[in-house]
Amino acid sequence: MKRFALLASIAVVVVGLAVLATFAPRPAGAARPYEGETIRAVVNAEYVKYSLSLVEKDVYDKLGIKIETEVIPADAFVAKTLLEFNSGSSPWDLVMFGPSNMPDYGRHFEPLEPWIAKLKLDFGVDDIVPVFAKVMLRYQGKLVSMPYDGDIHIMYWNKVAFERADNKKKFKAKYAYDLQPPKTWKQWDDAAEFFHGWGWDGSDRKLFGAGASYKPSGSGYSYHWWRSRFFSYGGQYFDKDMKPLINTAAAVRALDEMVRTMPYYPPGVLLFESEEPKTLLVKGDIPLLYTWTSAGKRVGNPAESVIVGKAGFGLVPGAEIDGKVVHRPAITPGRGMAVSKYSKKKEATMKVLEFISLPDQSLKIVMDAKTIMDPWRVSHLRSPIFRKAFPDADKYLDAIEASFPYLVPDPVIPAADEYQRKLSFEITEALAKRKSAKDALDIAAKEWDKITERRGLEKQRAAWGEKLAEMKSLGIEYHPDWAAKAK
């Protein structure tokens, strides 16, 4: 009996302790539920890795997860990641990708919705800027990724150049209209010509007319600079039967103008990637540049910029059609983040993806001048901290928002990257004056046909059909007559 009492009391104590242990709050464990887990991320540039390092500590403090980031340079990124995925595996859990390549990447990503239900995740999808939500989130209707970098083009100008009385007088005398930040391509080219080769800031330096990035690498820079002109002249990628329209009158006119104005751009522009012209802008060497929105943060960074508070932000120029200016700024690849379907740590990775996408965490990333990541949430654009982060930051954020209604996406169909690369390459051939604009674009069109043929005409036509309808709903259509009448 005694023995039984002893055993019973021990049992009670043990069970009691066990119950207590289960229900008692775990002081350390709760704060870091995934303590000890390490996930792998893959990104395409050192500055993206840097951007993740801004939130790494918080991720660890909150979740206990460490992030190991691999950088594959942009020039090899799509090739290496897709080769890995296409062979049915991947060493990475968290994957950065260019959303324009979604048709090639999407099937390797884990759909988010089941996990949202299971883990009660909140990605704040309603807070995502609608244009980004449209192109960055879904594959075949399923939510598979979150934006990480909201890339569009806006125009920057150096107010010193445009507001000096002397410059205004000279410009008016030469072009017979008032000097102002350009609204049309004609005005842009005039301004570039006007400003090139002399000290428009009042110094005796030899400065340049405008900036651009024409290197044919990565996901094809030169093509982004061409397509804003091309689309405002009424262009379109393909017709409904997948016949390329990139060698039509609009295309040739756009490229011819770029070739003609090459002398007004800085030396080296043919091999400029994204950052070189931005450096020239913030150092006061070029008065005009249209490029990704990240340039605004460099403009506002006093550590390197000499034009803090002296820069204007606005819409990329367009073409005047029947008295109305049509703007077609580019929405360029940007960056999305997704969870690999082949990951063995999906739960932890989902948690990390949620965490870095949270409004306050992602704000940290998109506000930092060195990350080159751009705002993609409505709350980023409206954030009182961001709007006061540097002089005129509010005007910069407003200019981004003002561009949203006009954006033209990439040809988001399978092989998007290859289409862009082949076209970019031929564009630089024309810019380097190795071929005429017409010849270069004709060859590009032939290359596009080859890609379509390799991927299967029917499959491509079906994919393109959807995009065509989407673009039509945005008001973007092929207008063969615009090329001749655009001003």
Binding site: R40, V42, N44, A45, E46, Y47, K49, Y50, S53, E68, T69, E70, V71, I72, P73, A74, D75, A76, K80, L83, S87, P91, G218, F272, E273, S274, E275, E276, K278, T279, K283, A303, E304, K370, I372
Partner: protein
């Protein structure tokens, strides 16, 4: 008489002129060499000073040739945030392993050629052809094969390919060293009951060790420098310094100029070391070692 006096004077003048000529020749020679040194070492100077500059000095004009306050901040950033330490270690480990493996595999082959003329002219021609073979021809099938075998992103896969790429060079150089080695010593050892392999390891190796060191160092630097296989076959665990450098080029080097230059400095360090250690063998080594992409 007058003539007799005149002659030594002319001779003296000649000697003097000769001396002037020679001195002038010396000056010109060293001037020329100095110009060559400036050209060939200038880029290193710029990279090293750049890596020690502060961010504000990169774009300064007049340029900052020597930073007033050199700082190691970019190296620290490279080693911590950019995983430089890991990739530097990878480069060291892969290069060292390939170096050892190349020696172990090549020595018996070289011995076989040196002692028995194994393979005759065919084998040496084959080795030459392998030395000349463009790596781009190998990378595609190797990539596909490695993918199937799961050898991508592994030390083993990289070490295997580097070892094999280095066999022609190592064999070639080792055959030379072995031919210079007196056969008698070896045979004496074998008469004492040594097997051939033991004779090779215990008698020959210690004596030709300096030569083997030369081969090893060249193998090391060639592996260190290799880029094409490295960029295609490596992943996060196995990335080398050569691949790390390329991650700073995306979008242009403007944003991480300091880290980029610091990574170049670390990437060329072994070249400096080896150039000084191997002075006497540079010609042979460079002519025969060919993993330049």
């Amino acid at each position: 008489m007058a003539i007799a006096i005149e002659r030594p004077r002319i001779a003296a003048r000649r000697v003097k002129r000769y001396r002037v000529h020679r001195a002038l020749g010396h000056v010109l020679t060293y001037l020329g060499l100095f110009a060559a040194l400036v050209f060939f070492l200038g880029p290193f100077f710029w990279i090293v000073t750049t890596s020690l500059k502060g961010n504000e000095d990169f774009f300064a004009f007049p340029p900052v040739w020597i930073p007033a306050e050199p700082s190691l901040a970019h190296y620290v950033a490279l080693f911590t945030r950019s995983s430089g330490a890991r990739y530097f270690t990878n480069s060291l480990v892969i290069s060292s392993l390939s170096m050892v493996a190349a020696l172990v595999v090549s020595l018996p082959t070289a011995y076989s050629i040196a002692r028995w003329r194994f393979g005759g002219g065919f084998l040496s021609t084959l080795l030459l052809v392998l030395r000349m073979l463009p790596a781009i021809a190998l990378i595609i099938p190797i990539y596909i094969m490695y993918k199937m075998l799961g050898l991508t992103n592994s030390y083993l896969g990289l070490v295997i390919i580097y070892t094999v790429l280095y066999i022609p060079f190592a064999v070639w150089l080792l055959v030379g060293f072995l031919r210079d080695f007196p056969v008698e010593i070896e045979e004496a050892a074998m008469i004492d009951g040594c097997s051939r392999l033991r004779a090779l390891v215990q008698v020959v190796v210690p004596i030709i060790a300096p030569g083997m060191a030369v081969v090893a160092l060249f193998a090391f630097i060639a592996t260190w420098n290799e880029f094409l296989f490295a960029i295609v076959l490596t992943g996060i665990e196995t990335k080398t310094m050569m691949v790390l450098v390329t991650s700073f080029t995306t979008g242009g080097t403007d944003m991480f100029y300091g880290e980029a230059s610091a990574s170049v400095v670390l990437g060329v360090l072994p070249a400096f070391a080896v150039a000084f250690m191997l002075q006497r063998y540079l010609v042979k080594g460079l002519a025969l070692g060919g993993t330049k992409g």
